[in-house]
């Protein structure tokens, strides 16, 4: 049966070649788009690890004009007067690497006996609480930690499980960008955005007055009106004596950063949808036409005893076989991507995307060939032969 169908396809190879090429191309385009879509979707499923509702980030410029004591005093009194405002729950100083801020600080070394790579974030002892992050192991920073002999760090759970497996990690000193004593593990911190892959993160504790913590994270009581921002703005300006700072609402930052991903994703998927419909309609039309041209053949086969199912199977089989070969060749090329590690995408995403693409194309092909083939099988042998 299969051999027979292959012979039939081969006899019409010029015509089938175009069909083959079309399905092959459709496979290629869908495969690439699905790979990225799956990657996005998987990243999206990972929790952010911090809250965005009612949290503001104030980006102040680095204060380099004051000496360190004046700066410390200014920062402490600014924090105190912000905390005195009834609408504010807590305030924390944070470094240049902030949620949705677009900055990254990456560090890697092999000082611990293995290659370790982590992203760094600087913050004071109130940051974890202000951002509503969860500690899953050990403890949060405390105010005393600044005075300890060793620098104190928190790591994300991803770093912990990736590099240390089940080994105890608390109170050990590792070189995570700089030497530090690990006191706790935070659940997640996907600070680049909802669609970004979560990376291993290390939080380094810095004193509040440090030059390296220029920005403020502010947690508000739920339901604080937006115009409260003016009060915060005036308060900050009165201490820093400057106006070139901005306050960003973390929730709108989150929506904004997600939108940057939604738009290309939706555009790409709708273009794919259009291509699929296009291919389906084309397939449908061509088949309809071919079958009406082959009425005589059908009539003959029916007379010689082929059942209606036989006829349907033959036509569906022909198209299916062409599609199968196209997908086979397409998969051969597609498999090279994970094998040669061309793009920065997890292997499983490739295979999942390949499976999806195969499934989609084969079902479209089946659907589009089944209807015209059914139509063909309804042809009455006597009529068909009579036409001839």
């Amino acid at each position: 049966m299969i051999k027979h169908i292959i012979t039939l396809i081969w006899n019409k190879r010029r015509k089938n070649f175009l069909l083959f090429l079309e399905i092959f191309l459709a496979f290629a385009v869908l495969f690439v788009v699905f790979t990225f879509a799956i990657q996005y979707f998987r990243n999206y499923q990972q929790p952010l690890g911090f809250e965005t509702e009612d949290i503001w980030l104030a980006y102040l410029d680095r204060e380099t004009e004051m000496d360190s004591i004046a700066r410390l005093e200014m920062k402490l009194s600014l924090e105190r007067s912000l905390e005195e405002l009834p609408q504010i729950e807590s305030v924390s100083w944070v470094g240049d690497v902030t949620p949705f801020g677009g900055s990254t600080w990456q560090s890697s070394n092999d000082d611990n006996g293995f290659e370790l790579s982590t992203q760094m974030s600087r913050a004071d002892e109130d940051f974890i609480e202000t951002m509503g992050m969860k500690i899953v192991e050990g403890r949060d920073f405390t105010a005393d930690d600044v005075n300890g002999k060793y620098e104190v760090v928190l790591v994300s759970n991803l770093l912990r499980t990736k590099y240390f497996k089940q080994d105890p990690i608390l109170d050990s000193i590792y070189n995570l960008g700089s030497e530090g004593k690990v006191v706790g593990v935070v659940d997640h911190y996907k600070y680049h955005g909802e669609f970004e892959e979560e990376m291993e993160v290390t939080f380094r504790l810095f004193p509040k007055g440090s030059e390296d913590l220029p920005n403020l994270a502010i947690r508000l009581k739920a339901g604080t009106p937006a115009d409260f921002e003016e009060v915060v703005n005036k308060t900050i300006a009165s201490y820093t004596k400057r106006n070139d700072f901005i306050i960003r609402n973390l929730e709108s930052e989150r929506i904004e950063s997600s939108r940057e991903h939604w738009i290309p994703l939706i555009s790409a998927l709708s273009i794919c949808g259009f291509l699929i419909i296009n291919v389906a309609l084309g397939l449908f039309g061509v088949l309809w036409f071919t079958i009406s041209k082959r009425r005589a053949e059908i009539g003959l086969r029916r007379t010689l005893g082929a059942t209606k199912t036989n006829i349907t199977n033959q036509f569906v089989g022909e198209v299916f076989m062409v599609a199968f070969f196209a997908i086979l060749i397409g998969s051969f090329f597609a498999v090279q991507l994970p094998l040669m590690n061309v793009l920065d995408v997890a292997d499983s995403n490739y295979y999942l995307s390949m499976a999806f693409t195969c499934l989609l194309i084969l079902s479209v092909v089946l659907l589009c060939s089944f209807l015209p083939s059914r139509q063909a099988s309804q042809i009455h042998p006597a009529l068909a032969l009579h036409e001839e």
Binding site: A26, E65, D244, I246, N278
Partner: protein, 444 residues
């Protein structure tokens, strides 16, 4: 003759409605998307104010400082030869770059080293990316500001709706003057006309509005801002810093294309003469001089060599577009082949009465072009609708897509190309058909 072909084409299209629908669906959607892309590219890369003269500009957006060292890496190769251990040591020289710093440029650096370059008509130094939060009746306005000199206005041709730009004298005297976009004027004053002379409070200073410009329809950092201030109002320490890197960038205008290369060479030459203050930290200085296209391409796909970025982005875009167009084209070819077989008797008759293969080819390609233009019209309407939706929903920020003459010409060309390509193969096949076969095939 063309008229006859046209009539015939319409007749044939009306005959097989389902096939016509399939073809038109594919064509109109493909062309719609291509037109959207053309409109987008025109907006991004066309010569639109305030970047009308962008092809005569050289930018210095960044200054890269690096520490380049050559490391000697010894490799000891040991082999056991006749029971005796032999060592063979080879030395390899490796370029290493332990420190790398890339940032916009400081004003003193540009002012001192990069003025009046050979080949440049004029230059402007300005600082972008400054933001201010203002509160008007408890409403928050986030204004982005550009601190610029007077030359800025003669390089970027902003469309002044009212007033005029600030002058060199005003900049020097630190006069508190400001230029607004219409958008900023509307949000601050609630109106866009009669704003000149009004006072805008910003950064604890009162600025007098001297001009209102049409809001640039682009997100480019060089011109995309809400307010423009004389650079002398920028934080005093950034005007007197010793550092080479700071918050400024430079732009040079040349009178012709040849000047661009000269400006680039001159920037590199001058950079070579500068002694770095701290060679232990950084020993190489590279003010990145780029044309508009190079700068754009580097923003899309970063390669250290900007011309490589341009090539890669260009290749990538063409490749993707080809891939996208190929599929609907193949589909159309497929459908066309099926349709054309139906008309083999017609071809046979025409040939029998003396038509050449060329005539037949021309007729079918022409018919296909008619079909594509029909699809093109539908696609055009769809694209217009979509552009309106995109502009209204602000998904692209300040970018305001529009259909101008150039985009229309592009669309026409796209239609023509699409029509010829998808019609040629089937028409060629049919035109080759033998008369007798064609006449006979009618039944098969």
């Amino acid at each position: 003759m063309l008229q006859n072909y046209f009539k015939l084409a319409i007749k044939v299209l009306a005959r097989r409605k389902f096939f016509t629908f399939i073809s038109l669906f594919g064509i109109s959607f493909t062309l719609m998307i291509l037109m959207l892309i053309a409109a987008f590219l025109e907006n991004e890369l066309g010569n639109n104010a305030p970047l009308s003269k962008k092809d005569q500009m050289i930018f210095i957006p960044r200054l890269i400082m690096t520490l380049e060292v050559i490391d000697t890496v010894p490799t000891v190769d040991s082999t056991l030869l006749d029971g005796i251990m032999r060592y063979d040591t080879t030395y390899e020289y490796v370029d290493r770059r332990p420190s790398f710093s890339s940032s916009s440029v400081s004003f003193p650096f540009l002012d001192k080293h990069m003025r009046s370059l050979d080949g440049a008509q004029r230059e402007s130094f300005y600082s972008t990316g400054n933001t201010f939060d203002l509160f008007i009746n408890s409403n928050k306005l986030s204004f982005s500001a550009i601190y610029a000199d007077a030359n800025y206005w003669s390089i970027y041709d902003f469309n002044f709706r009212e007033g005029r730009p600030f002058q060199a004298q005003q900049v020097e005297n630190q006069e508190q003057v400001i230029v607004l976009t219409e958008k900023a004027a509307r949000s601050y004053f609630g109106k866009t006309t009669g704003v000149v002379g009004e006072i805008l409070k910003l950064d604890n200073k009162s600025y007098e509005v001297v001009g209102v410009v049409k809001t640039p329809e682009t997100n480019r950092s060089t011109v995309g801002a809400d307010v423009f201030l004389p650079y002398t109002h920028v934080n005093p320490r950034s005007l007197n810093t010793e550092e080479f890197q700071g918050g400024f960038q430079g732009v040079y205008l040349s009178s012709n294309k040849a000047g661009l290369k000269r400006i680039k060479a001159e920037i590199a030459r001058r950079a070579g003469q500068i002694t770095l203050p701290d060679p232990e930290n950084y020993n190489t200085l590279n003010p990145v001089a780029m044309t508009f296209m190079e700068r754009y391409a580097q923003g899309v796909l970063y390669k250290e060599d900007p011309s490589k970025s341009v090539r890669m982005v260009f290749g990538l875009v063409t490749g993707l577009l080809l891939l996208f167009v190929l599929l609907p084209t193949l589909n159309l070819v497929n459908v066309n082949i099926s349709r054309i077989i139906e008309r083999s008797s017609e071809i046979g008759v025409r040939k029998a009465f003396g038509a050449h293969s060329g005539n037949i080819l021309f007729q079918f390609v022409f018919e296909n072009i008619v079909l594509t233009f029909l699809g093109g019209i539908i696609g055009f309407v769809l694209a217009l609708v979509l552009i309106n939706i995109i502009n209204d929903s602000n998904v692209l920020g300040e970018v305001n897509l529009g259909f101008n003459f150039i985009v229309f010409i592009y669309s026409l060309l796209i239609c023509l190309f699409f029509g010829i390509v998808s019609g040629l193969i089937p028409a060629y096949r049919m035109s080759k058909i033998h008369i007798a076969d064609a006449l006979k095939q009618n039944q098969a």
